[in-house]
Amino acid sequence: MSASVAVEDRSAAEDRRAEDRPPPRAQAGWGRYAALAGLTAGAVLFLFPFYYMIIGALQKSPNTDISGAFPQPGNLTFDNFVAINQAINLAGTLLSSVIFTGGVILATLVLGLLAGYALAQLEFRGKQLVFNAMLLLLIIPFMLLMIPLYVMIVRSYGLEDNYLGMILPFAVNPTAVFIFRQFFMQVPQDLFDSARIDGASELQILTKIAVPLAKPAILTAMIVTFIGPWNEFLWPFLITKQADMQPLAVALGSFISNVAGSVANPFGAILAGATVLAVPAVLAFLALQRHFVQSNLGSGVKG
């Protein structure tokens, strides 16, 4: 997957510039309308299921007729949110999601920034080795690591139903390390060298210069990292047995596979849960959209 690395390697700023550049071929005529029509059809295809999810989450009794795709005043209710909350304790599972996601983001920002900064700006023995090893290890597909990680974390370390065990395999998002490295590669080394000449310690250079400078990269890394653990099902599903440890995605998944039949309107309850799970991620993405540029993709594909 070195190809993906090559894409990620392109600097965020460069991409942002490319995106803001006016599109190359400003043509008038039917071609433009065809493009617009195609894009609109695409947008409907992408957005309709979300709209339908919210409609379904608010329906008193499921209506799968075409009329059911439009809100009907007589058939609206918040009961489905109450039902899913009774079944899987939304507050508790959301808290678990927040701890899992927050832990991953914190570890990624601290350890990933340190590594990215060092790999870009510092000269030390073994640097090239670390970088090459990192490129090599990241092509290992997750499915190969799933069983041994389970053996290590659950069987050997006894970290079942433990946030540490949940966070560990995701702790440092490799894409974020690339983002930080790429960001610091663009910063002229003179900036750091002149601080050294002025007598600043390496730690001061890091905390007083590098970190404040990296704010845009930190935001990008945050949003890229966020969607991984927030949406993850497989790993937290494997290592949580206790319901009160499960993140929302896992609790909702168990509800879908086991107990959905136990509520009056199972689809309504599932869709209400799906809404609670989807909305924070979509809002976070929309809020930070301009930081989420092509260079930083790949986090969702844990190759």
């Binding site: 071609g31 894009l39 992408f46 339908y52 030390f124 597909p141 190969l144 389970y150 995605a249």
Partner: protein
């Protein structure tokens, strides 16, 4: 004199540790993470796959003898594994061409001077940032026996319904994943399109090429390396799917028609406790994915 004495020590230190030895502790936590989460489990996966590695009661001391390639021969002879592998092939056949064609067409349309570009770009991305579990909830409702899709199709609706129909269960999963991931690939192509020189389009126009002709003569070859990346990433996703068959089609059903290799690893390794067997599945798959990635690169990037 003191200075002269200090100089050799400094240079020796630089020679030993580099100009900024502080870089070593900066990258150390990340290196530790790579070892614990990637390198060691990789070794463990290989070790387990060559041993009769099973889960015993906690605290029990058991023998896990070396059994050579027995796990591998058993996996390769297992009809369920063949079904799962066949499902990956079917998945890739549906997913990859659709992904490449739709993503490139949408990205090309998005690359024109059209209104609402930000809106379109964001709407394509919404499924990608949404949890699989939430998306599965929506699709369960859309494709239920009496769901909206069947309501619209009326007498054309398949019987038995989509998700419990042996012929349709897997294609529905492949379509779901294509839909969910497409926005990611659209942005990837959009980035690649920025690098196609405008002069080529102008030259094509001078030569009398229309929009369709210049799409195939200029755009398609111009984004070739992005296509390689898209094909590789989509193949990796195809070899890794788990949440969809587990939740959408009730555990890979009907009759294993939608089982995936990762779902099989979960069943064999974690539910049944045959971790060595599951590790062998992982190794075989990982080798397959890496081989296909290399082959793709060779086929798509040679000139």
């Amino acid at each position: 004199m003191a200075k002269a004495a200090a100089a050799p020590t400094t240079s020796r230190r630089i020679k030993l540790l580099g100009k900024h030895p502080i870089g070593i502790p900066f990258v150390a936590p990340y290196v530790a993470f790579l070892i614990v989460v990637f390198a060691y489990p990789l070794g463990l996966a290989l070790y387990m796959s060559f041993h009769d590695y099973f889960f015993a009661a906690p605290g029990a001391i058991v023998e896990r003898p070396f059994i050579g390639v027995d796990n591998y021969t058993q996996v390769l002879g297992d009809p369920v594994f063949r079904t799962a592998l066949g499902n990956v092939v079917k998945f890739v056949i549906i997913n990859v061409p659709l992904t490449v064609a739709l993503a490139l067409v949408l990205a090309t349309a998005l690359n024109r001077a059209i209104p609402f570009r930000t809106f379109f770009r964001a709407s394509y991305y919404v499924p990608y940032v949404t949890a699989s579990v939430a998306v599965v909830g929506i699709w369960l409702w859309l494709f239920a026996g009496d769901g909206l899709v069947n309501t619209i199709l009326g007498p054309l609706a398949p019987d038995p319904p989509w998700l419990v129909n042996e012929a349709w269960a897997l294609p529905i999963i492949a379509l779901l994943v294509t839909w969910k991931q497409l926005g990611f690939y659209v942005l990837l192509y959009l980035a690649a399109l920025q690098n196609v020189p405008n002069e080529l389009y102008e030259a094509a126009k001078v030569d009398g090429a229309g929009a369709v002709r210049s799409f195939f003569a200029v755009t398609v070859p111009g984004v070739r390396s992005a296509t390689t990346l898209v094909v590789i990433l989509a193949t990796i996703v195809g070899a890794n799917f788990f949440t969809e068959p587990y939740l959408l089609t009730g555990g890979g059903g009907p009759n294993n028609a939608s089982i995936s290799p990762v779902l099989m690893m979960y069943r064999e390794g974690i539910e049944q406790g045959n971790a060595g067997y599951a590790a062998a599945i992982g190794v075989i798959l990982a080798i397959g994915v890496m081989a296909i990635s290399l082959l793709n690169r060779y086929l798509l990037e040679r000139d």
